[in-house]
């Protein structure tokens, strides 16, 4: 067997980005959550908000550090393993990646120092402001990266000369057709992922009777967020799907596991895709539901994969299964969010052992959904890096041998398998110490402020 540098480069990309994406999936949401907590601490003067913020800021510091180091790897991957792609697309994508570095990374990295170490050194308003800047930085970061990714999916605003892309209209490039849907769908996914982690951690602390006040507040805040965001995310997902259907019909057919074009369209719940024979084996289908859900009409249909040339089809199995995992997780998430509200109305939220245990078990679901969603959209884009224009096989660095990439991939696997489990163990240790364990005396809110402002806290609102 010969080692194929193309296949190994793709595996290497999958490996480094799959680990990396877990961190923004968490830190984007967590940064906004910390900014809200810092705001509550600043405006209400209640120490409990500062305590919760300090607790999550500690966890944020670890995950952000891991995000920075695994993020530095990413732009260099484009050069080391995908140099033909770099040369062809950099006129268009280069400045957008550079803007990501400029606007976001610096904002995060510089203000993060103040957020983490500066409680005693800067006035309280500045500490709050640093929290806001870190949160804004993560959202800018997401904006540019997803704009780049969306352009690769739905390119526009360029012309091609000598096999290279040249920009014509930056507005059209940045706000390409799939970008708004992808951006909001992703940010929402990141917020929901964080929401479930906060919910799970709160439930764990409450079940062990540690930091119960703070844990209750975490659970309440998370449930309030999730009951709004989870249903909203389902609507956004549907809109995103309609956009994919319009601009990437071959990807959509792969996601739905549709090899042929039929009318009316059934919905394929499950099956074993067989790309070689071009059919779905053991398919479980519901008649007409496909027309209704996917085209929003009783008799609509989508183009099957057989209407696309064989060398322009994605492999069906990864997007087909990944999409079903993502949707399945969405259903579980909706159940948790609704059940939480029902228990709360009945006043049984904190005493319901099964629900708290459920919250713990569902804490990592957001991460799985993010990876599944990413697999759906990225494998669904194959065999292209720039949809319909530049093939993945023509993007890889020509000087690489299979042995080169086998060596580098092994080293990435080795280092990441040490780094990520240790990081996760670490964050778990911070959680185990509880909220009190993470708070530096004196509470942050006092820093740099005259005492009286703190001595008279706002009256505690009645608990629920």
């Amino acid at each position: 067997m010969t080692l194929d540098p193309l296949l190994l480069s793709r595996l290497q990309w999958v490996w480094v980005i799959s680990w990396h994406i877990l961190l923004p999936a968490f830190t984007v949401g967590l940064a906004s959550y910390i900014a809200v907590l810092e705001g509550l601490a600043f405006f209400t003067g209640r120490a409990v908000w500062a305590r919760i913020s300090a607790f999550w800021t500690r966890i944020f510091a670890v995950s952000f550090g891991m995000g920075v180091v695994s993020g530095i790897v990413m732009p260099f991957q484009i050069g080391t393993n995908w140099s033909r792609f770099s040369d062809a697309t950099a006129n268009v994508l280069g400045p957008m990646l550079a803007y990501e570095g400029l606007t976001a990374f610096f904002l995060e990295a510089s203000f993060l120092g103040v957020l983490l170490f500066g409680r005693k050194l800067v006035p309280a308003w500045l500490h709050f402001f640093s929290g806001l800047m870190v949160a804004a930085g993560t959202l800018f970061s997401t904006f540019w990266i997803l704009s780049v990714n969306s352009w690769m999916q739905t390119p526009q605003g360029f012309h091609v000369t000598d096999g290279r892309f040249f920009p014509d209209n930056w507005w059209a490039v940045i706000f390409n057709p799939s970008f708004p849907y992808r951006y909001f769908h992703n940010v929402m996914a990141f917020y929901i992922t964080t929401g479930f982690v906060v919910l799970g951690v709160g439930a764990w602390l409450l079940r062990r009777d540690r930091s119960s006040d703070e844990a209750g507040m975490m659970i309440r805040m998370a449930l309030n967020l999730l009951i709004v965001l989870v249903p909203l995310q389902m609507v956004l997902g549907d809109l995103h799907g309609a956009n994919t259907l319009a601009y990437q019909p071959a990807k959509f057919a792969a996601i739905e596991g549709r090899y042929d074009t039929v009318r009316p369209l059934p919905l394929t719940l499950f099956g074993i895709p067989d790309d070689a024979r071009g059919r779905m084996r053991y398919a479980v289908e519901i008649p007409r539901l496909g027309s209704l859900l996917l085209t929003h009409s009783m008799n609509g249909t989508i183009r099957g994969l057989d209407s696309f040339p064989a060398d322009q089809r994605a492999p069906v199995a990864p997007p087909f299964f990944a999409f079903r995992i993502m949707v399945g997780i969405a259903v579980i998430m909706l159940f948790v969010a609704v059940a939480g509200q029902v228990l709360r109305r009945g006043g049984r939220l904190y005493r319901s052992a099964w629900f708290l245990r459920l919250c713990q078990w569902t804490a990592p679901l957001g991460f799985i959904a993010v990876i599944a969603g990413w697999t759906t959209t990225e494998v669904g884009r194959q065999p292209w890096t720039v949809y319909g224009l530049l093939r993945t096989a023509q993007s890889v660095t020509p000087s690489l041998t299979g042995m080169d990439v086998a060596l580098s991939l092994s080293l990435y696997i080795l280092v990441y398998l040490i780094m990520f489990p240790t990081g996760i163990a670490f964050m778990a240790a911070i959680v185990r110490r509880g909220v009190a364990g993470a708070t530096e005396p004196p509470p942050a809110i006092e820093a740099g402020r005259p005492m009286p402002a703190y001595v008279a806290p706002a009256p505690a609102p009645a608990g629920e």
Partner: protein, 335 residues
């Protein structure tokens, strides 16, 4: 692509690389020295760079994506040509970054993380030196594609530049520690700085002799008439800076040793620029030939001219907030 933005981008990228080398240079240097100081003083050493290191590393990303955006073909040739040095640098930076976070929180494995931090700093530095050496020695290119092997980087010259950068960053790190610490640790940093200074000067001399011997273009640039006379101030300035640095490492308590070390880097950087100008892929592409189209450079320039001063301002501000000496008594983490 003969357009007028190329000189502006050359200056911005040159400045970006220099800022990266100065800032991450000192914290990588501190990382290497950290392995050599007494274990009891390691926390102080770490604390001296705690608020800065991740901000410093973001300049590396700016350098990488800035090169990609402004001079795409240079990025597409150089980065694959140094495939393994880049790999080692990235993995070492990952290790180092993680070790930084973890050593504070995991007392049990502190020695292991200390080793990872020191080793990561060393390998990242050495790999950057090898990248620099490979860049100076040039690449095999056909059209717009690197056609050599992924092991072309391994030559005696790149070994020398790798070692040179290790001593160079150690010098910056020692200068930083003289500025940020007191007492025994500062005295130790003074000695480490003077040793690094001697070694780094030997390396600068070796590279300065080697490059004109290896390349007739570079020899002509430095030794042809009247260039020799016009360029003479640079070696003189370098020598004078080296002598002042020795004095500062022996006597001065504040920023002088660190400042002199940075100046030494500036003169070396200038020397490399003079040797290679106007090539961005030596022997194949000039800056103008490698440039992206005007609309690409203009689009990025608009935001850069607004954001870069802001970034420089608050980078400076965050250094100001955490100014002054670090004290050992203030606990494990923070100032």
């Amino acid at each position: 692509m003969w357009h007028s933005l190329v000189p502006i981008w050359t200056v911005i990228l040159g400045l970006g690389v220099f800022i990266y080398v100065s800032l991450d240079g000192f914290d990588l240097g501190v990382g290497m020295l950290h392995g050599l100081v007494q274990p009891s003083q390691r926390a102080t050493v770490m604390n001296s760079i705690a608020p800065f290191w991740d901000g410093n590393e973001t300049w590396l990303i700016l350098g990488g994506v800035g090169l990609l955006a402004a001079f795409p073909v240079a990025f597409a040739i150089i980065i694959p040509a140094v495939y393994f040095p880049i790999l080692v640098m990235l993995l070492a930076l990952v290790f180092r970054g993680v070790a930084f976070e973890f050593r504070f929180k995991q007392a049990r494995l502190r020695r292991l993380w200390d080793w990872a931090f020191c080793g990561g700093s060393f390998f990242a530095t050495f790999a950057q030196g090898v990248v620099l050496g490979s860049f100076i020695q040039g690449f095999k290119v056909d059209g717009r594609v690197f056609t050599g092997s992924s092991f072309d980087f391994a030559t005696p010259f790149t070994l020398l530049t790798g070692v040179a950068l290790v001593f160079g960053y150690a010098l910056l790190g020692a200068g930083w520690l003289v500025m940020k610490t007191e007492g025994e640790l500062q005295a130790w940093s003074r000695r480490a700085g003077r040793v690094s200074l001697l070694l780094v000067c030997c390396c600068i001399a070796a590279v300065s002799l080697w490059t004109p011997l290896a390349s007739s273009v570079i020899a002509q640039r430095w030794l042809g008439w009247p260039n020799t006379v016009l360029l003479l101030p640079l070696p003189v300035l370098t020598l004078a800076t080296g002598l002042y640095a020795w004095h500062a490492f022996s006597r001065k308590d504040a920023w002088q040793a660190f400042g002199a070390s940075i100046a030494l880097f500036a003169w070396s950087f200038l020397g490399i620029v003079i040797s290679l100008w106007p090539m961005i892929v030596p022997g194949h592409f000039t800056l103008w030939e490698a440039a992206s189209p005007e609309s690409t450079q203009a689009f990025l320039l608009v935001g850069t001219l607004v954001l870069l001063p802001v970034i420089l301002f608050y980078t400076g501000w965050s250094y100001w907030v955490f100014r002054g000496k670090v004290h050992q008594s203030e606990g494990d983490e923070g100032y």
